[in-house]
């Protein structure tokens, strides 16, 4: 294992994860703080027979990987706030056309150009609802570089399993911070390969006819089968349809294939929840300070518990409700105006127990910040 031990940025851990998962095509556009992902892949992909293209903007970046995915490749793009905004239309297309792809959003301070070289976690709801229309989406996050690698692999697995775009919601601190990373040997982490159709060449293939388990086998575009791909509502052939039955069943399928598999998709970490009076829920870089606070206060006798969300969408409502059942207070630590806090309030019984501990000035929330907010919440003064 020694030779697999590296000291890297989170963006590099993401690259390692993508390569581990077998990603072979990346298209992207420079934007702080995600640029290193593109730069590293420009260097790494060609030697592995993969392809890197720098596109002319983020709209074309996502569209290019959609095309690359259709032809049978595992694909990824990486961006940050403004670029993620430009990707929203194509993101909806990938949802509608059920195209596996991974979109990395290394969050910075927003809205707009915002605070490019500083941290923020304000894109949680954009990841969910940024593109128009009803739909479901998978969004994963990570607080350590080891997790960045594993969640990146998980993202590809989820994308291929459910034929859907998956968003990796990292942030500037995770992306730029350097930390130890152990790159696992091949076979250590599960890697899901694309389910390809067994329908022979020349035999009718229905690209949008789910199997009994809901999965849709794919056929490499331009290969054995001729089929249509569209952002319009479509039938099992992929041809446009406005038949009300077709429209309704497709939308239900798009949402159900993800919402009914929350348990398969959900990833989280927990610590000391059994006897916790106060549960701190966090994700991404904010979770690092949260974990420190919990460990630190535990040693002083405070019964704090730690729950880190590694998957945010679909939101693990049942998990949160169950884990928080006995807690007197629930504090959500995040670097936005309370996007996950609202979700937790909606998930738990007695939502008056839920509080927000945040920092929104572009600096990483510190354990001291969290401790001080906890003291206010607990009525102990600062």
């Amino acid at each position: 294992m020694e030779e697999n031990l590296v000291f890297v940025q989170g963006n590099e851990a993401c690259v390692e994860g993508a390569l581990y998962a077998g990603m072979s095509f990346f298209a992207g556009y420079p934007i702080t703080p995600s640029t290193e992902i593109a730069e590293l892949l420009a260097r790494r992909l060609p030697g592995r027979g993969g392809r890197f293209i720098q596109m002319e903007d983020e709209i074309s970046s996502l569209c290019a990987i959609i095309g690359g995915s259709l032809t049978g490749n595992k694909v990824m793009t990486a961006t940050s706030g403004p670029g993620f905004s430009l990707m929203q239309e194509a993101l909806g297309f990938a949802v509608m056309a059920e195209i596996p792809c991974v979109i990395v959003n290394v969050q910075r301070g927003g809205p707009s150009t915002g605070n490019p070289t500083h941290v923020g976690q304000g894109d949680v709801n954009q990841a969910r609802w940024g593109t128009h229309g009803d739909h479901a989406i998978i969004t994963l996050t990570a607080s350590t570089h080891q997790d960045v690698l594993e969640m990146t692999v998980h993202a590809f697995n989820m994308a291929e399993t459910y034929r859907t775009p998956v968003i990796l919601l990292f942030d500037e601190v995770i992306g730029h911070m350097r930390e130890k990373l152990v790159i696992p040997e091949a076979g250590v982490l599960p890697v899901v390969d694309r389910l390809r159709t067994s329908v022979k060449r020349g035999v009718d293939y229905h690209p949008y006819l789910p199997r009994e388990d809901g999965r849709l086998p794919m056929s490499d575009f331009g290969g054995d089968h001729r089929y249509n791909v569209t952002g319009l509502y479509h039938d099992m052939w992929g041809f446009p349809s406005s038949n009300p039955k077709v429209v309704e069943s497709l939308l239900n399928h798009l949402v159900d294939k993800i919402e009914t598999n929350v348990h398969e998709i959900t990833r989280y970490k927990e610590l000391y929840l059994e006897d916790a009076e106060v549960i701190l829920i966090s994700f991404g870089s904010a979770a690092r300070s949260t974990l420190h606070t919990v460990e630190n206060r535990r040693r002083r006798g405070d019964r704090l518990g730690y729950l880190e969300l590694q998957s945010i969408w679909p939101f693990p409502v049942d998990l949160i409700r169950e884990k928080c059942r006995k807690a007197r207070r629930i504090v959500v630590v995040e670097m936005n105006k309370g996007q996950v806090t609202g979700l937790v309030k909606a998930a738990v019984e007695n939502p008056e127990r839920v509080f927000l501990a945040n920092r929104i000035d572009g600096e990483l929330i510190s354990p001291t910040n969290i401790k001080n907010i906890l003291r206010i919440i607990q009525g102990r003064g600062v």
């Binding site: 556009y29 420079p30 934007i31 702080t32 640029t35 593109a38 730069e39 420009a42 260097r43 060609p46 890197f52 720098q54 002319e56 903007d57 403004p82 430009l86 707009s112 150009t113 490019p116």
Partner: protein
């Protein structure tokens, strides 16, 4: 350009619109371009600028470098924002102001070309100045459409860029707008006169493309910005010209080179680390392209 109307260092205005002590890197070619162009435009000017090195140069408060109103818009929309500003100024009777879009090569020729092409096609009454430092410098030197072939950037790290430089001024000229010009940071007086001329041709879209050496991105010491900018012109690689209502003419140093010997382009490549992996074959190819281009000029 009429010879006897050329601005000289003696006739150049003393008025500065750009404050000193801004946040540009030392030796930044954009510093020269921005200062000179704004001198020519004067105070009756409003700016639209996308994310770029220019937003860094303009500084973080209180180190603000510009004495003009500036809308720092989104990356893809510089010309669109300028369009809107112009329309509203016209509607409110303040049409005398110059509306100037000032963007880098990525913001002009890559992500921004749709908005720019739209503005040119509509003939919007704006001046668009592109400072071309031939890569995405603000994010740390990634290739752009205007990066020359063979250049090493962080996203062309193995063989250098595989494609030739996108000829943005020709694309813009194909829209048939009133005024298209190229200039260089190494010839600020030529740039000054062209911006003045653009400002005087109110009514349509005017476009100026400025070759802008970048010490940190191109890999040379900051004191050589002007030297390298001049080499770009004297080798015939980057030409100074104007297209006024469809009439093409070389100007300044480029006009003087017609029928005369040009510096071999290899001399230009040798000055910059970004060309470090350039093969002799590619150097010859580039020299051949320059020679062919200049054969047309002299014909």
């Amino acid at each position: 350009m009429d010879n006897d109307k050329k601005t000289t260092v003696l006739t150049l205005t003393d008025e500065e619109i750009v404050n000193p002590g801004n946040r540009a890197c030392s030796g930044c070619g954009l510093g020269i371009v921005y200062r000179t162009a704004l001198k020519a435009l004067g105070k009756d000017t409003v700016l639209a600028v996308p994310p770029s090195c220019l937003t860094v140069l303009q500084g973080l408060y209180p180190v603000a470098s510009t004495k003009l109103p500036c809308v720092n818009v989104t990356f893809a929309s510089t010309a669109a924002a300028a369009t809107g500003v112009r329309a509203a100024l016209r509607a409110t009777g303040r049409d005398h102001l110059n509306v100037v879009a000032f963007a880098g090569d990525g913001g002009t020729g890559d992500i921004g070309i749709q908005a720019l092409s739209g503005a040119c096609e509509r003939g919007e009454d704006i001046i668009y100045i592109c400072y071309d430092n031939e890569a995405y410098m603000n994010t740390g030197v990634q290739r752009s459409g205007t990066t020359p072939k063979g250049v090493m950037t962080t996203t062309t790290p193995i063989k250098g860029k595989l494609q030739h430089k996108k000829d943005v001024p020709s694309i813009i000229a194909a829209h048939g707008i009133d005024y298209v010009a190229t200039a260089s940071a190494a010839y600020p007086l030529d740039l000054y006169d062209k911006v003045k001329k653009a400002a005087s041709m109110k009514g349509g879209t005017r476009y100026i493309h400025v070759h802008t050496p970048c010490p940190s991105g191109w890999g040379f010491a900051p004191q050589y910005t002007v030297h390298i900018g001049k080499l770009g012109v004297t080798t015939g690689l980057f030409d100074l010209y104007e297209i006024v209502k469809g009439e093409f003419s070389l100007t300044g140093e480029s006009a003087k080179r017609v029928g005369k010997e040009r510096t071999p382009v290899e001399e230009y490549f040798k000055t910059q680390r970004r060309f470090r992996s350039l093969s002799q074959e590619l150097t010859d190819e580039m020299q051949g392209m320059i020679d062919a281009k200049w054969a047309n000029y002299t014909a």
